[in-house]
Structures are given as C-alpha cells and as structure tokens.
Amino acid sequence: MNSRRIRLAAVSFLNARPITYALDPERFEVTFTEPSVCADLLAAGQADCGLIPVASYAAQPGLRVVPGIAIAARGAVKTVLLVGAVPWPRMAEIALDDASRTSALLCKLLSRAQGFAPNYLRVDHAEAARAARGDRGALVIGDAAFDLSGYPYVYDLGAEWTRATGLPFVYAVWAGRPDALAPADIAALQRSLAAGLAARGTIARAFAEGRGGDAKIFERYLHNHIRYALGSDELAGLSEYFLRCHRAGLCERLPEIAFYETAPVRARVRRDALSAAAAGERLCDQDAINLYESAPLGELGCAADARRHALHKDGVVTYIIDRNVNYTNVCVTRCKFCNFYRPPGHPEGYVLSREVLAQKFRETVALGGVQVLLQGGLHPDLRIEWYEDLFRWIKSNFPLILHALSPAEITHIAQLEGLSVEKVLERLHAAGLDSVPGGGAEILDDAVRTEVSPLKCTTDEWLAVMRAAHQLGLPSSSTMVFGFGETSQQLTGHLGRLRTLQDQTGGFVSFFCWPFQSEGTRLKKRDDTSAARYLRVQALARLYLDNIPHFGVSWPTMGPDVGQVALRYGGNDFGSVMIEENVVSTAGAHFMMDAAAIERQIRGAGFIPRRRNNRYQYIS
C-alpha cells in the first residue's frame, strides 16, 4: 500500500460514474470536475492521474494511458450534440462548449470533412445549451445534452464519426505521468471499473434522483451507448482521430499512445497449448482466446493443418453440387445485416410458385446436382401444412436431398403454429426433410444478437432446434458469422456452445465460418473482415471444435483464392458449386465457380477432389 494516497482528477458527468463509482478510498483521493479542468490539474501537478479528454492527452507530451479503460462510443453517444435552428451546412457560426477540447476538435474535423467552414467561438459550459440561435449552432456536451429540447437540427457527433470512419470514438482515458501509478494501482482502477459496470442500474437511479429525469433512459445510456473498454477497435478509432487532427493541422504533435506497464503486458498461453491442440487435445477457453488473439497466423495454420490431416488422412477435399433456393424473401425479422429480405406487404416480396420451383429443380438435376438447400425469410402467413405439402411434392418428384429450413425458420413455424420445435421437426422429417442447414447462428451470444438481429431466434432457441433435429437423427451443419464487433470471449463462447451440444448429440457434420458482408446493409460496422482474420478464425475453430468432423471453406465470401489457401488452415471441404445464391451476393460477395474450377482449386492446393452428399459421403 502506498504511504500516501494517489490524487485522481475525474469527470463529474454521468458517463464517468461507472469508472469512479467503486474507487478504493484508501488508495485513491478523487477530485470531481469538468473534463478540461481534469487535464489542467494534471498539468499543474495537482493530480497524479486524470480522466482526461483525449485531446488534452495529445497536448501534454509524456503522459501514459491506463490500459483497458475508456469513455467511448461506437455510433450515437447522446451527450456530444451539435444543435441549431438551421441545418449544419447552413451554420455560419458554431459555439463550442469549452468543457472539452476533444469534442470541439471533433466538431471542426467533421465540419471540414464535409466542406463546411463556419466560424467558431468558445462559450462557457453552462452557456452552451442556450448559445444556438439564428445561423449559430452550438456544441453541447455532457449531462447538459440530456435536457436539450426544441432545436430542429440535432447532430450526434459520435454517430457522425462512426458513420465517417466505421470506428468507435474515444472521449476520455485515464492518463498520468509515467511514475504516478504502479501495476497494483492499474489493477485497482480496472477492478473499480468492473464493479462500477455491474452497478450501472444503481448509478442511473441515483443520478435520476439527484437531478430528475427517467432512470431507465440513463441506464440505457450507460448500457447501450457508452463503451468502457479500450480495446483494439477503440485504439484504432483513437489513432484515426489523432491522425486526422494532425493532418488537418488541428493538433501540432502526432501523439503516440503510450501505456502504463502492467504485469503481464503480453498474452500468456500454456507452453504446449498449440501443440497439444494440434495433436487433438481439447483446448480450454482461455487458451483458445489467447491463441486467437496472439498466435502468429503461420503457427495457427500449421496446427490446424495437422488436425485436418489427422481427421482426413486420405488427402481428399470434398465439394457438393447443389442449388440454393430461397422460396420467399418475405421476412418479419429485419436483421440489419441482411440485404435480401422484404417486409410483409412490400411490392418486391415473393413466394416461389411450384412451376418456378420445378424448373429450378429440373435444372439442378440436369447439372448433376444432388441436393437442394431450401431456405427463406420468416414469412408470417406460410403454415406448416404448406411446408409439408412442398416437401412431399419435392421428394416424390425429384431425386434431390432436401437440406432445408434454418433454426430461425423452424422456431418461427413452431411459434406460428403453437407447436414445440420437436413436433415441427418430426412432421417436417416425416414429410421428407433430410438435414438442417446451420445458418442464422451468426454469433451465438445474445448481447451480439440483440444488436444485429433482435427479432431473430435467440441463442437458446437456435441450439434447441439443433438439439431436437439431432435427436430425430437429422444431421445438420453449423456456422459462425464473425465481424460484428464481437469480443474474443463472445467468439470463443460461440464455439464453446457448439462443442458442448456436439458432445451431447454428435449431430453436427460440418462447420463453416465467414466474415460478415456489409455492403449495402444497414449494419455499418468496420470490424476486421480481412482474409488474414478469416484464416485465423477458421484455424482456431478447427483446433477448438475437436468433435465436428468436416470444415468447409467459405469461397463465396472470401474469393476462390483465399478459399483455396483456407484448405491449409483447417478446411477439408470446398462447399458447393452453387447454381444459385441470393443472400450474400446481395451484400457484396460476387464469386461464382463451376465444378471444373473448384476441382482445379482443390488440386492446386495438393488435394484430391471428390463429390459428396449432405452427410459428407463420397459419391464420385
């Protein structure tokens, strides 16, 4: 324990309270004030460490940042608002709240990027909310922004920043002189944040009691808008901000982001985790997270390739000829990442007729196809009898495997009919269903799902459908779509749920993963969806999912070349000669290949191509 307490200067705004709520009074002495004053106290040596605006960090050379903690937001922040009686392009003047230099610079940066050149004047924090009139806009920050009303034009600068860059914006960090904090102090600050995050409800209620207002709104603000982690995305956002300020001449120095040392600074992993996983030993979650975040791509690939070889010694890489038929595009879920759906009643909505379906199936058979992958939107009017009739008709007229209806559709039918998913699957199975595709899993974590597809089936519902299918003897595939900004824990958590269910049922025959395709969708995220990350994720999944036999590479999203390389990062299946694909191709994936091209890719990577059915049995 230090002989004297560490002097902290912290922001008094609501968004800082989870950070300061549980600070240990024996270790820390806290002064609460406005953001810019925190920076002044730090500069004057009257505080050892301050929760300071990032612009103040940039202006004071030699400071260190406490790792892992920030006040940040991805998208709307709610408390950094540009308001006015006229739209932004027509603001001749903007009054800047002098409480935070960071938001003032952000406002200038965003104005300039759009080609606006207003005059700026500084006003006192207390005056800012009333400073807008005529063609003068005003930047209002902090809790004052909760009470704003009556302005016809309100711009959330957090949302504007994320729209322009795809990145989160970091407003404030803990920073101090290099010798001010020891590793134990850093750990104490991080513990305090963890306790504060758990108490967000209490904090919001106390705040509402103190000043009036709706505690629910404040709680939502702390939960959904402010992000408290300083992770790689936030750091990328912070770097981008500094870089843009520097290039625009708004900050003279291009600051480095230097951290306090914590012990340990690097990821730790058991010495033998990688080689043990390569040899088929089960990976624990912590090792999986460490490998995912830190193992070099080559090492991960080698280990995954060793696993692939151990599971598929004959050097065969399979593929299937099938047709992806989307029987309807009408869907009630409105997932933000989907470009394919149309809401009920929309003029472009369709349900394919038997004539159209018959034509597609005849073509599929003529092209050597063995399977139809039948999936659609969650149509509010199609009853289970419609599916039963359709399945019976398909199975009695065409020699095709029926790989149909993802868990979201089955859950939807069960809810529509008031039946259990077991009963729905039993009836569909009796009508001809052969296997269940594993789509719609996205990330099996309800925090992620709530954000990207709130109306689609939950994690538990998705798993329940798969469990029921497996118990009926219906095999299924499994999938993961990453790149929604999920954490490493959420990603490995997804794999963990698949592995646990597979231990119980053994019904998953395959796994596919691919990065989220964002082009034209409403979900604007700039997460890492590069080929390097795809290979890393697939290799990790191959090591982690020791009980799922087949791994398909995702060339429709990554391109044939990356798909080919992925065969050496755990893949043993080249997916499908897709005679038709409608969903990811409406979101920017435009790759097509015929059987000859697929076989050439497989041979080029040193494997023997064989055609397969839905159970991965060879049929050529």
Partner: protein, 371 residues
Amino acid sequence: MTRFVKVREKVYAGVPLDLDDGVALFRHPNLPELGMLANQVRERMHGDRAYYNLNLHINATNVCVADCMFCSFARLKPGDPGAYTMSLEQAWGKLRERAHQPITEIHIVNGLHPDLPFEYYEELLRGLKRIRPDIHLKCFTAVEIHFFAHTFGMSYEKVLTRLREAGLGSLPGGGAEIFAPRVRRKICADKATTEEWLDVHRVAHRMGLRSNCTMLYGHIETFEERVDHMLKLRALQDETGGFQTFIPLAFHPEGNALARLPAPLGYDDLRTYAVARLVLSNVPHLKAYWIMLGLKIAQVALWFGADDIDGTVQEEKIYHMAGAHTPEALTRAQLEAAIRAAGRVPVQRDTLYNIIETPPGPSPRRLEVVA
C-alpha cells in the same frame, strides 16, 4: 531429416539456398509451414512493419515495338486501335492535377515507341521536376533503357547519365519476366535479353542508382525456372547491392496472347512469395503488389514474406469516385486499415525506403509462451 527440415536448417544458419532447395520449397505441401519460415526471416528483417508509399503511375505511351505474348497494354504502331501517346503537357498534367497531394514518387513505365526522340523522355522528367522539385522519379525499366541505348546509339551509362541529369532517381524493376532462355524465346523474344536486362541494372547500381527487380510468374515457366530467375538476381545483388525490392508479378491472362492459360491461384501466389523471401535473401524488401494480387491475398502475403504493399496506385479511379473527400486521404486510410487488419504496423516510406511517417496505433499483440 526431411528435405524441408534440411532447407530450414540452412535458412536458420544463414546459408544461401541453391536451386534444389528452392524447388523443394515450391514442392513442399505444407503451405502454412512454408509461410512460417518465410515469416521468421521477414520478421527478423522488418519486425511488424509493412511499408507503403504514396505514388502516382504515368504510362506516357502504350505504343511498343516489342510483341510480348503476356501483354494486354501495348499497341504495335501509333494509330492502332487503342494506341495512345501523351504530349508532354498531358503527361505533366497528370502530376499538376495532384501536385498539392503528399505523393512522394512518380512511377513511369512506357511502351518502346519507335518514333519519339530521346529529348521527349528528358523533357518529360525535367517538366515533372519543375512542377514538384522534391518528387522522386522512378522511371523506365531496363528494357526501355536498353531500347534507348540501341535506338539512339548510346551506352547504357550515357543514357542513364543524361536521364539522371534530367531528374531520374531510380529504376523500376519491370521487364525481367523469366530469365530462362526457353521461356524468353517463347513469350518475349524481341526485347532485351537476360544479360542485357541484368547489365542495365549493373551499370545503374555502379552509378549509384537504386533499382527494383521483378519476376512474371504463373504462365509457362517451371518451378526450376522461377528459382533460377531468383538466383540470377541474387548473384547480381551479391555483386552490386543495388536492388531494393523484389516484386513477383502474377500473370493475368485476359486480353493477351496467353489468354488460354489460367491465372495463378492464391496458393501459388503465397508459395511464390515465401520462396522468394527465402531464396532471394540479400534483397531487403519483398513487395506484395496489391493491384495484381488483390488486397485480400496481399494482406495474407504480409505473413508469407512480404513487407511492402506498394502504394496508392489506384489514385485516379479513387479520385473520381470519392467526390468531396480528398482522394489520397481515403486511399491512404484504406491502405493503412488493410495493413492493420492483416496484423501489421503500417509505415509510410519514400522510394528509397526512408521512413516518412509511422501513424500511431496499437501494436499487434504477440504470443508469449510461458510455462
């Protein structure tokens, strides 16, 4: 000991690889293992850095007396459909439009035009220097220098001296194709021979000019011929030390006489980069030219030996698409984001690999193995 392990031991011991070693690496079935070895060498030389530059390409004419089978750019005679030759004003205009942008290099490669006087080339360089005296001019492949020497009756040294006086800063690496005579006879019989190509670079290096070198792969050449090509470059580098960067160029089959051939696949691209890093150990940099590879494979190549991703070549297109935003900032942000997404640290360089800027950003996390 397997063949791969033997080669790996040589790499670790710093022993130069020979033809058989290189071919064995090409035939090694374990791609990630090959990549790991190349990556170890790459990280020993460059750590986590991935270089890029801000450059502008000018191709002043596509009229070319050589008839290379792999080329979709050249037209044999002025007046042929699609043939063009820029006036000096037009070529200078390409820079003038962008003179305010922070580009540091102009890359000029042209067809072998039968009629243009030597003064055209000298004046081209002088005019660009008048617009931006600080800009580096990386111009004319060895094939063009040889053509000038032959056409205007000068020695290589005389050609290079006059161009240097006009502003030439270094030579690009194009025109090497594949050195093996069998291949050269078939795909590019009527331009500078292997010895002539190497000799131009030798003379340039002796004059203190730096240059790059290339290899066009994925058409009719064998693995042996690829490795042989790298070894010839390595021998010249041992002699002069003047090569900065090796750039493997993937053959593209559209719109040329070799269109019946398939393009090389991603697997072959990555394998070629890894072998190049290991065989061509004395050339400091290896460039993943993203225009040719595609950005996705270029990103992965940063883990297969490559440490450079070239520059903002596509500027002009981006400029027209980008509307109100400044084009170089967008392109540059995209390049930096692509490098970061690949887990590397972007470093802006000039043509001679002086570091201009290392934008701030998180360092990639690395694995630390503990007991």
